[in-house]
């Protein structure tokens, strides 16, 4: 390996003889033996060593996948109401396919009547997909007293969605009006025809029904004279605004599982909604809100903090002063106050396409960006003055190189840790707001709303423990995993501990 | 009768990466009023040795075994922590490297000093305060009364170290262990501190164990020097003769690596090749062998014991080739090769 000739470019150092060269090469070989590790490799190794953080990471990934693929799973509807029931205790699947496939002749007469008439509107059930032959429940808004409407299934009807009856025996059917598809695959409209008392009287409910069905089947050209078109209400249900990918998954589910869905493995709540399904679907909203809101706060915070830190001096001072002032305000209260007021502006904002959820994201993001900006600014400040930055300058690195190669990776680690710790806080906050009624609304479901359901049924009479325990367990597990992972990341990325072990 | 006699001290640490042998079969003794310098690189075991003597090695993962640690009539290795506590800070004291972190930043100087007297001599707070003021004066701190109520961060580095020294000497210990007392200080302050320690030693008759990696410090202060490498003593002897003629290749390497003020500026600085060994995986033979310029066949498999070198009075070395070294001409301190 060693070459014993002098080489022309040894220059001022004079001739480099063979022994010297051998010695230098040996040094080089030794140096190369010590494999350096980048910050990320080091961090990953340490994270893997931290068993609970590692487990948490995989748990969260698995849970995230579950949540993402929720429409694919054969779960009961999270918002369909089955108001005649009490909360049903957890049951094994094969006992409890009770959502599905009741015989067609089943019971329009024995079911308790519905009542409607007041001005309130409310969602009655939920529809899964129009590609099916059978329906389970329907998302419609009927004018009427919310608590008394009892939806039923009508199997085999492609277009009748539900049949309801009120206490005085007036019936209504809800069906899709052809030609009004809005270019989507899901039925979303409710057209309600109410049939008068006379039609009902004479004990001819079955006859009436047949009559109606025939009329409908024949193309709906004519309906019995007694049919009266009520107001068309259209209110977004759970399935509205569903992005394309989710709808595709729903279709896939229908193809795979048909009508079959798991029974109440974790029980149902007082309105007949399946707890397992609500936990899974609720996780989507909770995760969505917390991730997006955290990202919003991250964006705001990092930009603000990095700018302040980098510019330094008086600008930095001023910017941080503003943060201090805002920090002093107990933000929770201001947020609630803001949400209250923004609710009143809702129609105005809706014109801009800013829906309730968007407001939500920004308001929540607005709380957490303050700390993020402080953290980032602190990090940038300390990095600016580090010797390695000086060293890089001395070697001739340009400003942008310094920023991207030296400062950004170090800031990133802090940001990641903080992000992982903010997400559970936001989740808690969202739950908190929903609990108070200021957050997510039905028919959407979030974990906060689940907690509300749980707390509402805590009474001295009966313990519906599954309504409290299961949602709490899901929430606890996720939040715990996030916290443990965040702590683990912080330990793994902390440069002070790096290499020391 | 030596005031401190350590026999066959072993300290190991059980970590999840294996057992680390930090101190391996170390023995030495210290006479009254004598200063022993312990020299070595980081990882040589010099600090752990002193911590083990004081009973301060943290006990899960550390395991301390000794043939005997005889101090002032007692065997420290046999004592319980409770009994050791009575000795620590009283008859045997230790001062540490960095006075900024070694002093409690939230407690006044006076408190940290008086509690020693309160614990060991049962003095009242008021009496202790008087003694403390005097102690501060003894270590050369101007205006000691005022300084008593200061917090450590309000003092300069040199003053803090003086406070540490005062703290160590408050109860007139028989042995003072100084672990790198000057390393964290500026060079000019270093000289002052060393001078102070010498004066106090002279006044109080304290035996000192001076632990350092700085050969200059050792040369100035110690009567005897003990060189440690990879947890073992590799050479021991009186200071000047040892510096004049080292009898172990490691010592020689250390000495020759010191640049001299009158050396040739174009000469390459010499250093000891290679890296210190991994204490969790020590070789069967001599730990220094891979880096040794004097090595022979058997060095890799057979470790030499620390023995008196024939013909050299009061000098011991753990090397098969110590005779070869003894016969080389004596060198000037720190001459380049």
């Amino acid at each position: 390996m060693a070459d014993s000739t002098h080489s022309a470019d040894d220059g001022e150092l004079g001739a480099v003889d063979a022994a010297e060269r051998a010695r230098l090469e040996k040094l080089l070989a030794e140096a190369e033996e010590f494999k350096g590790e980048s910050l990320w490799q080091d961090a990953w190794r340490r994270l893997k060593r931290n068993k609970s953080a590692y487990v948490s990471l995989w748990f969260l990934l698995a849970f995230g996948a579950l949540s993402f693929f929720a429409p694919l799973l054969p779960l009961a509807s999270p918002s369909a109401l089955n108001l005649r029931d009490e909360p049903v205790a957890p049951a094994w699947p094969w006992e409890a396919n009770w959502h599905v496939d009741r015989a067609a002749g089943d019971d329009l007469d024995t079911a308790p009547p519905a009542e409607f008439g007041a001005a309130a509107t409310r969602s009655v059930g939920s529809l899964l997909d129009d590609g099916w032959q059978h329906r389970t429940y329907v998302d419609v808004t009927l004018p009427g007293d919310p608590d008394q409407v009892r939806p039923r299934r009508v199997d085999g009807e492609p277009s009748v969605l539900a049949w309801v009856e009120d206490v005085s025996g007036r019936s209504a059917i809800v069906y899709e009006k052809p030609g009004q598809k809005k270019g989507t695959r899901l039925q979303r409209y409710a057209i309600v025809h109410r049939f008068s008392d006379q039609a009902r009287e004479g004990g001819a409910s079955t006859g009436l029904r047949t009559q109606l069905e025939e009329a409908l089947a024949s193309g709906r050209a004519s309906l019995p004279a007694e049919a009266e078109l009520l107001d068309v209400q259209f209110r977004p249900g759970l399935w509205e605004d569903m992005p394309f990918f989710d709808r595709w998954m729903l279709g896939a589910r229908a193809a795979l599982f048909g009508f079959w869905q798991v029974g109440p493995l974790l029980g149902t709540d007082g309105k007949g909604r399946d707890v397992l399904s609500r936990i899974v679907w609720g996780s989507r909203i909770s995760i969505q809100v917390s991730v997006i809101a955290s990202l919003v706060s991250l964006l705001l915070g990092v930009t603000y903090g990095a700018t302040a830190g980098f510019l330094g001096g008086r600008v930095d001072n001023l910017m941080m002063r503003i943060v201090d002032v805002l920090y002093a305000i107990p933000f929770i209260f201001v947020v609630i106050f803001l949400i209250t007021i923004l609710n009143a502006y809702r129609t105005d904002l809706a014109e801009f396409g800013i829906g309730r959820m968007t407001v939500f994201y920004f308001v929540i993001g607005a709380i957490y960006w303050l700390t993020m900006s402080r953290v980032v600014r602190g990090q940038v400040l300390s990095l600016k003055n580090q010797e390695f930055v000086e060293a890089a300058r001395v070697v001739g690195a340009s400003n942008s190189r310094i920023i991207f190669v030296h400062i950004v990776p170090n800031v990133l680690s802090v940001v990641i840790v903080y992000l992982t710790l903010t997400i559970p806080q936001v989740m808690l906050f969202e739950a908190f707001l929903s609990f108070l009624g200021l957050g997510v609304e039905a028919p959407r479901v979030s974990w906060g709303l689940l907690a509300v359901d749980g707390s509402e049924v805590i009474s001295a009479i009966k313990t519906y423990w599954w309504l409290v325990v299961y949602p709490a367990a899901a929430m606890a597990a996720t939040l715990l995993a996030l916290n443990i992972l965040g702590d683990g990341l912080r330990d793994a990325l902390d440069p002070k501990l790096r290499g020391k072990d | 009768m030596p005031v401190l006699d350590v026999q066959n001290l072993r300290v190991r640490f059980e970590t999840h990466q294996g057992t680390v042998e930090a101190v391996n079969d170390v023995s030495f003794s210290l006479e009254e009023g004598e200063t022993l310098g312990i020299v070595g690189e980081s990882g040589s075991g010099k600090s752990v040795t002193s911590l083990a003597i004081m009973g301060l090695v943290p006990s899960p993962p550390g395991v301390v075994e000794a043939g005997g640690i005889h101090f002032d009539g007692q065997d420290l290795a046999q004592l319980s922590q409770k009994q050791l506590r009575k000795i620590r800070g009283g008859r045997m004291a230790m001062i540490f490297q960095d006075p900024m972190t070694s002093l409690n930043p939230l407690i006044t100087v006076e408190r940290q000093l008086s509690e020693v007297l309160q614990t060991h001599e049962g003095l009242s707070r008021r009496d202790a305060r008087v003694r403390c003021a005097k102690a501060l004066g003894d270590v050369g701190i101007p205006n000691p009364e005022a300084r008593l109520d200061a917090y450590p961060h309000e003092l300069s580095g040199g003053m803090r170290q003086r406070v540490m020294i005062a703290m160590g000497l408050l109860c007139n210990p028989k042995v003072l262990i100084a672990d790198e007392p000057t390393t964290a200080l500026d060079v000019t302050i270093q000289a002052q501190i060393l001078e102070l320690m010498q004066r106090l030693q002279h006044d109080h008759g304290t035996a000192i164990i001076l632990i350092t990696h700085d050969l200059g410090v050792v040369a100035g202060m110690s009567d005897k020097v003990q060189v440690m490498y990879a947890g073992r003593v590799v050479e021991r002897g009186a200071t000047l003769p040892l510096f004049h003629k080292p009898l172990h290749p490691y010592t020689k390497g250390l000495l020759t690596s010191i640049p001299t003020i009158d050396g040739d500026p174009n000469e390459t600085l010499s250093s000891i090749e290679g890296q210190p060994p991994d204490l969790a995986h020590l070789p069967p033979g001599c730990a220094f062998e891979p880096r040794c310029a004097y090595r022979v066949e058997r060095c890799a498999t057979e470790r030499a014991a620390l023995e008196v070198v024939a013909g050299q009075e009061g000098r011991s070395s753990a090397c098969h080739e110590s005779d070869r070294l003894a016969n080389e001409t004596g060198q000037e301190l720190g001459g380049a090769r």
């Binding site: 009143a344 423990w465 929430m475 | 004081m54 800070g89 408190r111 509690e115 614990t119 917090y151």
Partner: protein
Amino acid sequence: MFAFLLRRLIWGALTLWVVVTVSFFLMRNVEGGPFDGERTLDPVIKANIERQYHLDWPLWKQYLQYVGPFNLDETSGIFSTKTVPAPDGTGEIENPDYREDVFGGVLAFDLGPSFKLKDYSVNDIIGQSLPVSVALGSIGLIWALLLGLTAGVASALQRGTGWDLSLRLVATFGIALPNFVIAGFLILLFAFNIDGLPVAGWGAPRHILLPSLALGAPFAAYIARLTRTGMLEVFSQDHIRTARAKGLPDHLVLFRHSLKGGLLPVVSYLGPAVAGILTGSLVIERLFGIPGTGSHFVNSALNRDYTLAMGVTILYTVLVYSLNTLVDLAYTLLDPRIKLEES
């Protein structure tokens, strides 16, 4: 010290001003809000509003009226005159309301009438409910400190043992679960299984026990964690080694040398903790049926009682700010290395 307090006061005033002003403008412009002319209001409330807010005045005057400290009403305020023109146009009569209410507005601690609860001003509501909330919150904080500090120190001392691990597990649960879930569990536990502790209502000391525990639990968990980390950090520091080398007995090493340093992060945390307790009280008061300011606030948010909502927000802003200032002061007292300017 004086300079510090002065500076804090100025910034506090600034903060408050921001809150007040923003609320003012938001409330003014809200459709269907309190000042929307089309909205039908209870006549009593409507009268109150008009009397208080003078909706016919120019905006700047309304703002000044709102902020205070002076009432600008021509009849009863600071600018009122002794005599006013007679209603029938014949000369002047004496003004019976002359300078009745010279002061008004937020700066004069007048937070206006409630929007939903007739006959009550915001001050009344707050006056009645605040002592309740303060009692609840203080005891909650005491629980948090008591449980948290003990658990944290014990955990640090027994590091690695079963005790440590189980305490840490409990603490992690306390941090991860929202407090209404914890409260729910406590209610389930105590209402059905263990007698003797009521789960609703207010009036006797035993009513405070459960809700304050539920309120303080998440903070106890966090404090336990902070304490444990802080103590472990202190234990590994050099000066503890020095203390041991001096032969000090264990209890001195712990209480004199370690505790102070280890607890510093907890003192820092007290500020956010108090804010958090205020927040948590919203939920706890609701769950346990406690008539405190928190539950009023929630109701005001749901019922669109804007003045009450805003009044409580202002109150809590002031409270949190002052407490934070106190905490910072306390911190400097504990740590001699920190000077006030830096906090």
